[in-house]
Amino acid sequence: MNLNNTLDYYRSQSCSPQWRGFLRALAEEVAQGLDEDDQARLMARIGRRFAQAHPLPKAATLQELQAHVDALWSSLDWGFIVFEEQPDQVVIRHVASPLAAVLGQTSLATGFLEGVYREWFRAAGMSARLDVSTGATESPDVATFLLCRVS
């Protein structure tokens, strides 16, 4: 049995058929009208709204914050996440989001999550000198974001 076929099956099931066609059509339309940066910017604004509509409980540690984020995504069937603290940054890995399953790791999909995490970390106390940005793609199923100093 081919592992890729198995994964493709799970990917196809991670987003409701009810929304798959709509999302693809929407993404194509947006991609025609906006360049990559503007697509990411637009989706980050939508992500910010989403985060504001889904505030997280107060967290004292990065582990607590990860647990809150994970609980929320799990309740919405939006995959799971892992925070990795490094000396100069925090790496955020979001695994198996339904948006990525439909659109792939495009600016639309990653831009949305980037905006969500930026807003959640700001609400958790992230200073203005820090920001969340999209990192390199590790896998079709893993979106990577970096929280680090930007100025």
């Binding site: 990065l62 100069d88 940054q89 925090v90 992230m126 990192g135 970096l146 930007v150």
Partner: protein, 160 residues
């Protein structure tokens, strides 16, 4: 009651009257006039204000020694601080501290007129500690900058 009188005709038990009589009419040295009844009743030179000195105005002035501290500060305000605080801080610092902090300071009362010094670490110890998450944000913001402003992480270099 004695009826004896001095040569000046003033009852001997009327000391003030005696001084007045001697000072004004007698041949006593001029120094006696300082003890005359008039001089004794004269209003004294204005003393240092003991009240009506705003505490905020007093606190705004740098205090070098207790001699420059208004009487109201030297007597009233230290009732909760200077009279109890150990001699490890300036009076100005002490006055700037919240009353609650001052009230907790224990120790022997210093002599009046001494400058009281308070250890600044006492105030710092009362500050709430930051959470690990806040400390992480602080560390990243201050020293955790990557060479390319955050985009060139080890993770990114690995996947190039």
């Amino acid at each position: 009651m004695s009826n004896s009188k001095s040569q000046a005709g003033v009852p001997l038990d009327d000391v003030a009257g005696l001084f007045a009589k001697v000072g004004v009419e007698g041949d006593a040295p001029v120094g006696y006039q300082a003890f005359s009844l008039a001089a004794l009743k004269a209003p004294a030179a204005p003393a240092a204000p003991t009240s009506a000195v705003p505490e905020a105005a007093a606190a705004a002035e740098p205090v070098e020694s207790a001699a420059e501290v208004p009487a109201a500060e030297a007597v009233q305000a230290p009732a909760t601080a200077a009279m109890q605080a150990p001699s490890t801080g300036t009076l100005l610092v002490m006055l700037a501290e919240p009353a609650a902090t001052r009230a907790t300071i224990a120790g022997p009362a210093p002599l009046r007129g001494t400058v009281v010094r308070i250890d600044p670490a006492r105030g710092a110890a009362a500050k709430p500690t930051r959470t690990p998450l806040e400390q992480l944000f602080q560390r990243l913001a201050e020293g955790g900058r990557s060479e390319s402003g955050g985009e060139e992480s080890p993770l990114r270099r690995l996947f190039r």
